[in-house]
Symmetry: C2
Subunit: 583 residues, 2 copies
């Protein structure tokens, strides 16, 4: 037996008990004739003490134990003379009688502390050491706990977890598939699923009513910040259910997680915002509603003053930064620089200081007199002492830029309590989005998404304005998940494919087996999928999903630890009937 107890459980209740512990040497120090070792395992840290007078040989041996050595000790629990009230085991220490080195350790390339001295690349290469650090350990424990609670809630709601295949048919629509060559079927490939979408719909056709799965998904994208080629989804689908059923069921799930994981009771229904309102008020479909500072459009107030920038703009609008009238020139220049960064792409920024004394000063005084500016102030609701920040240009881009400016101001003004959580449903997403490049409509969610009933008549006359039964769950400005009611009517599905520019043949080739299935009694159904990594990251307070994934890949899709991907042997390639192009 390697241990009788863990390093996290002993306290004064165990006084004078003989125990055996195993763990890692966190640190050791010599004080006069005594040697102290902090022994660490998953559960905590326990102080070991060796007395040179009592057993000099043992104490000398203890002094040889380097950082991260794995040791086993036996001894008696005793009360500490100087207690540490911050540690659960801080009242006791172990008077060691026996020390056994289970495995020595080389000196780790960075410190195993809450704040490590290792850079990200080094910590990724030695991920198994990085994971020993408390914050990483806590993240994976949180992830486990969240998965447990998700499964518990959904099981109680009669959902069945059903595993769907990982090696499926490749469908070129959408993001790029990762593919897997088939040795038994040379020249043919499986694809790794971008989501189990089709399979979960087939499970509805099969009558499984309430399905979920915590499942790995894959997307071969050029990795932006905080994307991973493989990620985990909480994938769900319900039959004989509409939008309201899905929202209620999964609002219940979110509520359950808030309560069980964060100890937060949310009693009110989650607010709902239409896509249109979200864009208008926040400039984004995933607003952080923990603070106000809403966008206010003033397009109609700014025209007719010969200011060409505003005159020709599709949209002019602003936000009110409370109590910022006193922002310095430098601060304002920095903000202008912020919105002009290529990622945000505004052409410039206009400001209006509404000073505490009631006077008004703007960067466009040349064009707008006090009376004009007062109208802006009135419309935006600015009060004396506030600063009005205004962007202008093409509508969507400007709203997006204002949204970024709003977030930046919330950081500068520190208006958000990081322990607050504000969940929100965004609903009524458009069914289609227009792609300028290919000059066609794409499904905003996916091609099986149902239009709202009252908008079906617009499918021909005004497709761009058709709203879908599609919804997103947003928490603190992060899109946690989304879903839709699916089309179960064959004719409507055909219409949808037609609008998306699929020929019958293309539709058949890609989705034929799903369309076939729909001939045999497909029930009305709807679903949702949550980004599990993101949800855990939001609950953990981590900035990156990499911090909540045990073995993530970097931005080039590489695992720095195993140095993967890697070349394979010629024999492997031959068996697969493949060769590397140009060799």
């Amino acid at each position: 037996m390697y241990r009788t107890h863990t390093c996290g459980e002993l306290n004064l209740g165990y006084r004078n008990i003989d125990v055996t512990l195993s763990g890692w040497v966190q640190r050791s120090r010599n004080l006069g004739g005594m040697t102290f070792i902090d022994l660490r395992d998953r559960y905590g840290i326990t102080q070991l003490v060796f007395d040179l007078d009592t057993d000099s040989q043992l104490c000398m041996k203890a002094r040889e134990m380097g950082r991260e050595f794995v040791i086993q000790v036996s001894g008696k629990v005793r009360e500490r003379s100087s207690k540490n009230p911050k540690m659960p085991t801080g009242e006791i220490e172990i008077e060691v009688g026996k020390l056994n080195v289970l495995n020595p350790s080389s000196l780790p390339p960075f410190t195993i502390e809450d704040e490590s001295d290792g850079g990200e690349e080094l910590r990724m290469k030695y991920r198994y050491l990085d994971l020993r650090r408390n914050p990483m350990k806590k993240n994976l424990e949180l992830r486990h706990r969240m998965a447990v609670e998700i499964r518990k809630y959904l099981d109680e709601q009669s959902f069945l977890e059903i595993e769907t295949p990982m090696m499926i048919r490749s469908t070129p629509e959408g993001a790029r598939d990762f593919v897997v060559p088939s040795r038994m079927n040379p020249g043919e490939f499986y694809a790794l699923p971008q989501s189990p979408q089709i399979f979960k719909q087939l499970l509805m056709v099969a009558g499984f009513d309430k399905y979920f799965q915590i499942v790995r998904c894959f997307r071969d994208e050029d990795l932006r910040a905080d994307r991973q080629p493989e990620f985990t989804q909480v994938d769900c689908e319900m039959s004989f259910a509409g939008q309201e059923d899905v929202l209620n069921t999964f609002e219940g799930l979110a509520r359950h997680l808030f309560y069980k994981i964060k100890n937060i009771s949310i009693n009110e229904p989650f607010p709902r915002l239409t896509f249109r309102d979200a864009i208008e008020q926040y400039g984004t479909d995933k607003p952080d509603i923990r603070f106000g500072m809403k966008l206010v459009e003033i397009s109609d107030l700014v025209k007719g003053y010969d200011f060409p920038v505003f005159e020709n703009a599709g949209y002019t609008g602003g936000i009110v930064a409370e109590n910022c009238a006193s922002y310095t020139r430098k601060q304002l220049d920095q903000l202008t620089g912020y919105v002009k960064r290529p990622q945000i792409g505004a052409g410039g920024m206009v400001y209006v200081r509404y000073n505490s004394d009631g006077t008004i000063k703007s960067s466009v005084d040349k064009f707008y007199d006090n009376q004009a500016l007062r109208k802006w102030i009135e419309k935006t609701g600015a009060r004396p002492g506030d600063l009005l920040l205004i962007l202008s240009g093409e509508r969507t881009r400007t709203q997006t830029a204002l949204s970024e400016l709003r977030l930046e101001m919330s950081r500068q003004l520190d208006v958000v309590n990081q322990d607050d959580y504000a969940p929100l449903w965004v609903i009524d997403f458009p069914l289609f989005e227009w792609d300028e490049e290919t000059n066609r409509f794409y499904a905003m969610h996916h091609p099986f998404t149902s239009p709202r009933h009252e908008d079906i008549s617009l499918l021909d006359s005004d497709p761009a304005s058709v709203r879908a039964y599609a919804y997103d769950l947003v928490i603190n400005g992060v899109e946690i998940g989304g879903g839709s009611v699916r089309i179960h009517d064959e004719n409507l599905q055909k219409k949808m494919f037609e609008k998306l520019g699929f020929t019958d043949e293309q539709a058949r080739k890609q989705f034929g087996f799903l369309m076939d299935a729909f001939h045999y009694g497909a029930p009305p159904h709807a679903g949702v999928a949550f980004g599990f990594d993101r949800w855990v990251a939001v609950f953990s307070g981590s900035g990156s999903i990499r911090d909540v994934i045990a073995f993530p890949k970097n931005n080039s899709g590489r695992d720095l630890m195993s140095d993967s991907p890697s070349t394979i042997t010629g024999e492997q390639l031959r068996e697969l009937g493949l060769q590397i192009r140009g060799r």
Copy 2:
């Protein structure tokens, strides 16, 4: 709202209540002026009744509902005149007032009944219809329930479920990897994991103590019966744990599942059998111990009688078929045919009838007199009325063939109650197995498996006899899982690689990052992995794992439903930097 209740919950307690149900038309029949429809959903079947007199239009509409139409009905719950005590809803029916067709259905290509008229291929192609059948539904429900209980038990034992990557480094040792070309790293490939072995060991190095994961694994093998290219494993690992800890912990898991899923309390410890004893007594390392009929070696009794077959055999042994002395010539010929099949490969079979009157008659009377045969009878413990079946030849092959014969006899004699379950640990597996073809030792379990301490000294002198800390869980003759204590000592691991014929360089190339990790304080650890599909199949009584997988592949690794794998576009290939060989 599509329904107020499910089709499985209504009974007399709901009499006179207005309800709305949705589901599939299982069958319909007209009796005089009445039309009855059995409406099916995931939860059961409810009888609907339409009365031609009351509402002729509605009744006529009901008569148009074909099999598998999806309909929604509203009506009143009323007591049935002729009750069906076999159905939970058999006391009531719905007097329908409103009928709404949610989706019509084409005539399904096979009947959706417990015993379908569809062949396997057809049912695979229309898997979503096959899954509507009760036995398939029950299997997936069982699978869900087992996963729930596994997670519950392990969570209570402080195990953390940690997700490991699906796109990992390819290691050519072992079975073939499925590989995934990397677009971002042209010419390089990920592999899909055959198991998370290395990652779970790294998690132990990272200090995660008790890990598990219900995880998809992949193996590109030529598919034998009941293998799938992707399968699900319950993968587990523990630190500061030895063989005894693992066996106790997971015997607890098995006990928990027996109790929660099958309502079977097993109070005694699971029997343990060494690999050597298993082979000797049953001819296999996964014996079905629900019945006796053990193998008895009689090699020493059969030599010296000038019967060349036995004289030159490495092994001669038999089993006693109770009360089969009266087997006919034809029956015996069939048995001989059975063991001579190429899959079993015995050269022939010798029998001894020990007749009820005490006389003895054998197929080798020419060589063996009554006195000689009596010794066989004594050794094997046959009693009057029994039949002794004897095989002979090379030791291992003959034991294997006898094992098959034993199973065949158990079926013929129907000695096994299919509701009985007999779990068993097989322990002390050999560390190595010798491969004649490549003339080298292979790791029987894997190269990280620890030899038993007392056998380490034999590593050089007699490697073939070294036993490992390796163990299998066997239930009813099916290997449910297996595992081992891992080597955590660097020098022992080096020795192991040396014995397996790895050069330092090869070992570094394949397992370098694991070996690196072991420099930084690897704890002693041990683990186990269970074949989840097989465990569910055993508990479901299904003959095949295909029956407990929602969307399985056939023996050529094809999904007949989506017709996958399939070709991909030239564009996809180009992006991956690949071309099909010979094109």
